[in-house]
């Protein structure tokens, strides 16, 4: 893949060289296509084909197995899921996770980005240390938080005991109303730095003169942030929102490790339901249909964001 990447970069370099004649340009284009072919073939193989294959699978009754007959069932898999109460409960739960997680990440991320941007003492250390939670693999993060929340040995209980906020250890992950919030907290710790870094990078590129002019005109810090920086940050917020919303809606690994969808399905998310159907229950058709329902939802969310937040004139 690295070689493909190199070829890809070189193609662009060739393209950017001054063109001497039309025929040379044609020659360039041919070379470019030739060079891109291996990458395109790989991409078709690893991306497009599985998508098509899964799409076909979603219309089949496809039990797991090497000798299992697959029968065409039309839209049955989709209809079964859309009629299933568990599906809608799971969608609701996933939306709760998504809104909670992305909302907190955006709020905290923006606050921290603004803090770093104002360059207080130790801001460089803060920026570097932000990368650590983000660099930790999700699976490791999940295992770490499972121990933090552990009822008998967990650091959370230890901390709260020392602060005098609780007088005996609490089995946090056994409460139906609490478990999802704790998963959200673990996820926010892990991915908020991404949002903070994206927004901080965007803040760094904003023209200072606008801010200064507003200050001269008598706008206070809050007004300057709210009415000047925030609108200018909109494209960066849009990127962070789309990336994080899509990721949060497809949350799986952190739930798998921390709660395994318990207690009593209270942390069962839509991707977890897809996994259960596809692998644990051997219903690959249902799993494929669920995958496409997830895709439809995430694309819709992205389109809504772009419709309401994207202003082409601001990016020019």
């Amino acid at each position: 893949m690295q070689i493909h990447l190199l070829l890809y970069v070189m193609t662009f370099k060739i393209k950017s060289l001054p063109k001497q004649s039309y025929s040379l340009k044609q020659q360039d284009a041919r070379t470019a296509w030739l060079l891109l072919t291996p990458s395109l073939l790989v991409m078709l193989g690893v991306t497009l084909w599985p998508v098509i294959s899964t799409f076909i699978l979603s219309f089949l009754n496809a039990p797991t197995g090497i000798n299992q007959a697959r029968t065409f069932v039309g839209l049955d898999n989709y209809i079964t899921m859309l009629k299933d109460q568990v599906f809608w409960e799971t969608i609701g739960r996933t939306l709760y996770f998504m809104v909670g997680s992305v909302g907190l990440e955006l709020t905290l991320g923006l606050a921290i980005a603004q803090l770093i941007h104002s360059r207080p003492w130790g801001w460089k250390f803060l920026r570097i240390s932000l990368i650590i939670p983000w660099a930790v693999p999700t699976i490791v993060n999940g295992a770490m938080w499972r121990w933090i929340y552990n009822a008998d040995f967990g650091a959370l209980n230890g901390l709260l005991m020392q602060l005098g906020l609780i007088n005996h250890y609490v089995p946090w992950l056994t409460f139906p109303g609490t478990a999802m919030n704790l998963v959200i907290l673990a996820d926010v710790w892990h991915t908020m730095p991404f949002v903070a870094l994206v927004l901080q990078a965007a803040l760094a590129t904003l023209p200072e003169d606008l801010d200064e002019a507003a200050a001269v005109d008598g706008a206070n810090a809050w007004q300057r942030f709210w009415q000047i920086r925030l609108p200018l940050l909109r494209p960066a917020i849009l990127v962070a929102l789309i990336v994080r919303t899509v990721e949060a809606f497809r949350v799986f690994d952190i739930v798998y490790i921390i709660t395994s969808s318990g207690p009593a399905n209270r942390t069962l998310t839509i991707t977890y339901l897809t996994y259960l159907n596809s692998f644990a229950f051997g219903k690959q058709g249902i799993g494929a249909a669920l995958s496409f329902l997830i895709s439809i939802f995430t694309i819709t969310m992205a389109l809504i964001y772009i419709r309401f937040l994207y202003r082409p004139e601001e990016t020019q």
Binding site: M10, D152, P263, F279
Partner: protein
């Protein structure tokens, strides 16, 4: 420009050459490598199995064994995804006693009936063969015979002034109250009741100990009858009364072990591995304090003639149907299950050979490891009461419904009766499909 183009063309050619070499058919030269998937939890530790594999390789220079270890929870899905590849990702895998029906239906398991020798067939426990035999065909090699055991902490019971471990769950409640009141343990009992298979195993222990069963004679779900509901109500009450550790609802067997080995629980229900770990000073703060007692039953169950109750947690090794190396793999599995190997490593896992538990062989077995004089009688006392979970191809989904029901009852989301009724309805629906 021309130079750049030439360089690019050369790079392009290199990519193609590399690709072509990568796709070239592999020559079958040198020793054959077989890939075996097994668990890193109950039974032998990875280092021990690795040693067995190296010993096997020394005796069979034409076969190399590549072991892969995973937590129990990941094995099932690894097998199903591994079977999508041709040849399969694994030549053989450890299979739990609840999976054969699903895997046989899926065509994953090789019929090894003709490979089993009469010595193996007659020497190993009939129960171990039952686990891998369907319609007279054998689909695996017995490997680990395990049941849930009742273990208690001798020192903690002594501190609370209790001389004998409980025989019934009602006695356990009384003893746990004493232990709690005397401040010996905040939560005297720990269970694996998180939303995984472990909770079904523990429920099976209690259900059958109350005279109940998963299904009736006609195969219809029966766990939502009075015996089943009472067992679940008892589970819920033991948490509400502060006798069972409330963290049980989020604990698997490893968490149960961690709690018991830290000296926080006086009673724990777990697989055999917990006992040897309890005597391992690097993991345990209760070295020498753990002891076995027969699994208690409910008084009502005892009155109805129930003499004991546990759940079968045995596993075996099965050869994947599409492997090109069935002969080599079987050779290794036969070595793994051989009397010699099973006897040598009997500290973590008692042999599947019934012949080892008789006559002079029994003396040899008891002398083979320092813990064997304790674990052998415990096994012989408990295994005959091992109950089976339903042997149906849709077991995983049925179990998931039951796991959910139990968790809903334990967390107070639903009443035990309503929750179990819903799970039973799901079982009926699954059976009808």
């Amino acid at each position: 420009m021309r130079t750049i183009n030439r360089i690019c063309m050369m790079l392009f050619a290199i990519v193609f050459v590399i690709g072509a070499v990568g796709c070239a058919p592999k020559q079958a030269a040198g020793p054959v490598t077989i890939h075996i998937l097994t668990m890193d939890q109950a039974g032998l530790k990875p280092a021990e199995i690795d040693q067995i594999a190296r010993d096997f390789e020394a005796q069979n220079p034409d076969i190399k064994v590549n072991m892969e270890y995973l937590g129990y929870d990941f094995i099932h899905d690894k097998i199903t995804t591994g079977m999508a590849a041709k040849p399969p990702a694994y030549d053989a895998a450890m299979i739990d006693v609840i999976w054969p029906d699903e895997f046989i239906k899926a065509g994953y398991l090789l019929d090894v009936t003709d490979r089993v020798t009469p010595d193996m067939k007659s020497g190993m426990f009939p129960a171990s063969w039952n686990g891998v035999t369907r319609n007279g065909k054998i689909y695996g090699m017995p490997w680990l015979m395990d049941v849930k055991y009742f273990m208690y902490n001798k020192d903690m019971l002594q501190k609370a002034g209790i001389t004998d471990p409980p025989k019934t769950w009602e006695e356990l409640v009384d003893q746990a109250k004493t232990i709690k009141d005397k401040g010996v343990a905040e939560f005297p009992i720990i269970w694996s009741w998180n939303q995984k298979e472990g909770v079904v195993c523990d429920y099976a222990v209690l259900l059958y100990g109350n005279g109940g069963s998963f299904v009736d004679a006609s195969g219809k779900p029966a766990f939502n009858n009075d015996q089943g509901v009472q067992a679940l109500e008892w589970m819920k009450k033991s948490i509400d009364d502060g006798l069972s550790n409330p963290s049980s609802v989020s604990s698997d067997e490893n968490a149960v072990e961690a709690d018991f080995l830290a000296g926080k629980s006086a009673f724990a229900v777990n697989w055999l591995f917990q006992y040897s770990d309890s005597n391992d000073a690097s993991k345990s703060q209760i070295v020498g304090q753990a002891a076995f007692a027969p699994m208690p039953v409910f008084q009502a169950g005892m009155d109805a003639g129930v003499k004991g109750s546990s759940v079968d947690g045995s596993s075996s090794f099965a050869i994947m149907a599409t492997t090109p190396y069935a002969d080599q793999t079987w050779k290794f599995l036969a070595y793994l299950a051989s009397n010699e190997v099973q006897m040598k490593y009997s500290k973590e896992m008692l042999p599947v050979w019934q012949t080892d538990f008789e006559g002079d062989a029994l003396k040899t077995l008891e002398a083979a490891n320092p813990t064997n004089p304790v674990t052998v009688p415990a096994f012989l006392g408990q295994f005959p009461f091992a109950n089976e979970r339903p042997t149906v191809p849709y077991y995983n989904e049925a179990s998931a419904a039951l796991q959910l029901a139990i968790q809903e009852a334990l967390t107070g989301v639903k009443s035990p009766k309503d929750a179990l009724d819903e799970a039973a309805a799901k079982w009926v629906e699954l059976a009808g499909k």
